[in-house]
């Protein structure tokens, strides 16, 4: 148990000292997670709305596909994107492999099914009369969707939180696509794995605490926003 106590002491010291390397890793993690969450939710929430409200051929199959994608292993997604971005892959020309953009692509693919499947469930949970009321009072398609989204705001905030939680804590794709390059693509999760394997528990623990702190801050911020929008 001594190493744990020692680790926590070092974690606290590191956090208080404002180590530039640790700060850089935290900022990169935040950047990747925020960009990936915005992109995944930007696509996933409208997709979930369409899956929940439109009747079209293949809708059931699409819902099944999205729900199945929820269980995709992160390393498999990492492998697929690796294949796409590698020099001989179809997107090799972009030169994104081992950059933060590659991690974002992997994270988006992992968070997109969460955003789509959970938002479809959230919208399905809204009383169908809300949609009909907005329509009959003259709302366009966009305004109808916006009205429904306002009614489902708590569930949709939870969807965004879940998507953020997925990308911020993800390690498989980040390791394979980013390469855990110091000062470039090292995120909190890949750094924790690296320092643990090197036996530097203090640093690994400090970074783990930081990861939890980021998740906590984002969740509190979302809750505050929900509170302001209640009523």
């Amino acid at each position: 148990m001594d190493f744990l106590a020692e680790g926590l002491r070092r974690a606290l010291a590191l956090l208080l000292s404002g180590d530039p390397e640790v700060l850089g890793i935290a900022l990169l993690t935040l950047k990747v997670a925020v960009v990936a969450t915005i992109v995944a939710c930007g696509i996933g929430l409208p997709l979930g709305y369409l899956l929940a409200t439109r009747r079209f051929w293949g809708r059931r199959a699409a819902l099944t596909a999205v729900n199945t994608a929820l269980a995709f292993p992160t390393v498999v997604v990492g492998l697929l994107v690796f294949g796409l971005l590698s020099r001989r892959g179809p997107l090799g020309g972009l030169g994104w492999l081992y950059t933060w953009q590659a991690i974002v692509i992997g994270d988006v693919l992992l968070a997109l099914p969460i955003a789509a499947a959970l938002s479809a469930a959230a919208v399905q949970g809204v009383d169908p009369r809300v949609r009909r009321t907005a329509q009959t009072l003259g709302a366009s398609r966009w305004l109808t969707a916006w009205t429904v989204a306002r009614e489902a705001r708590f569930a949709l905030a939870a969807v965004i939180t879940a998507a953020f939680g997925q990308v911020v804590a993800e390690i498989g794709a980040a390791m394979m696509l980013g390469g855990n390059i110091r000062g470039s693509t090292r995120t909190l999760t890949t750094a924790v794995a690296l320092y643990t394997s090197q036996g530097d528990f203090g640093l690994a623990l400090a970074l783990g605490v930081m990861l939890i702190a980021i998740a906590l801050v984002v969740n509190v911020a979302l809750q505050v926003l929900q509170g302001k929008g209640s009523g």
Partner: protein
């Protein structure tokens, strides 16, 4: 005017509405009566352009509409559902919702909201939220919210089902005041015949998705006695009407005017209902003659349709004695 022509509407292959023609003329208040599941709500959703009919056409001022009507046209018709829902926000936000969608400025929205709130007795509730209102109040807000956008066609599905008698009266009076201020079409689906009689210009009866050939005069709300006998007797005003039905409890009886035999003397026949009385009114039903609507007081007021020739041969005239006969199986039960 909004019309349905040759409409057959199905849900999962089941025919729920089968109407050759149905129209809501501008300026009219039309009531559609019928029991639960008769197709009233489906009819209103089609008229509201929220659904397109499986077969047939919806016409606006005589022109057929595409399956997805333009939003400018959709904004001219508004539906209040049977159990309406208020959107997020206060009563004021709800009353202004449709107006804001139309890009109307805040000052004008506020003024119109105050006006409609006053009209429907909602001024004291303006800052309340949906969970602070009773079902009847929610219904009143929903009707006011629909009126606020000044639709050309207003469709109300059981608008007073959650209101007590006084509140229902207030709602209908507010609606009448609005109709007095501008011409617009109103179609109300209701099972409350008293309201339909009192406020509607015309009544249509729906049964199993079809229009029933009855006039409002021949509709009666009665209590059928229990029992499974083949013929039941329902008390209507001062008379008993024999009805062939298994139904019991509160129902609406409809006697199709074309199913009533008119004579001067009681005739031996299979008719279980033979009612004597006096003619109170004669009206040519169609311009150019053809058929005559004979209204008689036979203990209750009933209307029968006969040909002009038959009316002449029977020498029907106001105050003349008359006998109305109809079979127990001709009486429709809703």
């Amino acid at each position: 005017m909004v019309e349905l022509r040759g409409v057959r509407h199905r849900y999962d292959g089941r025919l729920v509405l089968n109407l050759d023609h149905f129209a809501v003329p501008t300026g009219a208040l039309l009531a559609v009566v019928g029991h639960n599941g008769s197709g009233k709500s489906t009819l209103l959703r089609l008229l509201a352009l929220l659904e397109a009919p499986t077969e047939g056409a919806v016409l606006w001022d005589g022109a057929p509409l595409p399956r997805h009507p333009p939003s400018a046209l959709r904004r001219r018709v508004t539906l209040v559902e049977q159990r309406p829902i208020l959107l997020r926000g206060s009563v004021r936000d709800n009353l202004g919702f449709g107006l804001r969608l139309r890009g109307i400025g805040r000052t004008t929205v506020d003024r119109q909201v105050e006006t409609v709130a006053d009209q429907f007795g909602l001024t004291s509730l303006l800052e309340r939220r949906r969970h602070e209102l009773s079902d009847g109040e929610v219904q009143r807000v929903a009707v006011a919210r629909a009126i606020a956008v000044r639709p050309d066609v207003l469709l109300l599905d059981e608008p007073a089902s959650s209101a007590d008698r006084a509140a229902a009266g207030a709602l209908y009076r507010a609606l009448a005041a609005e109709r007095a201020s501008r011409p617009f079409a109103v179609c109300i689906a209701s099972h409350q015949l008293e309201d339909a009689y009192r406020w509607a210009d015309d009544i249509r009866a729906l049964a199993e998705g079809r229009l029933s050939p009855v006039t409002p005069e021949n509709l009666f709300r009665v209590e059928l006695p229990p029992g499974s006998g083949e013929t039941k007797h329902a008390r209507v005003g001062a008379i008993d009407i024999a009805v062939a039905t298994d139904r019991t409890g509160p129902v609406v009886l409809a006697v199709p005017p074309t199913d009533i035999f008119v004579s001067r003397e009681p005739l031996p026949s299979s008719a279980r209902n033979v009612l004597t009385g006096r003619v109170t009114r004669l009206a040519t039903h169609r311009p150019g003659g053809g058929v005559v609507a004979v209204t008689a007081d036979v203990g209750v007021e009933l209307v029968a349709i006969v040909t002009a020739e038959a009316a002449r041969e029977l020498a029907l005239a106001p105050d003349a004695p008359v006998v109305f006969s109809f079979k127990a199986s001709a009486v429709r039960v809703f």
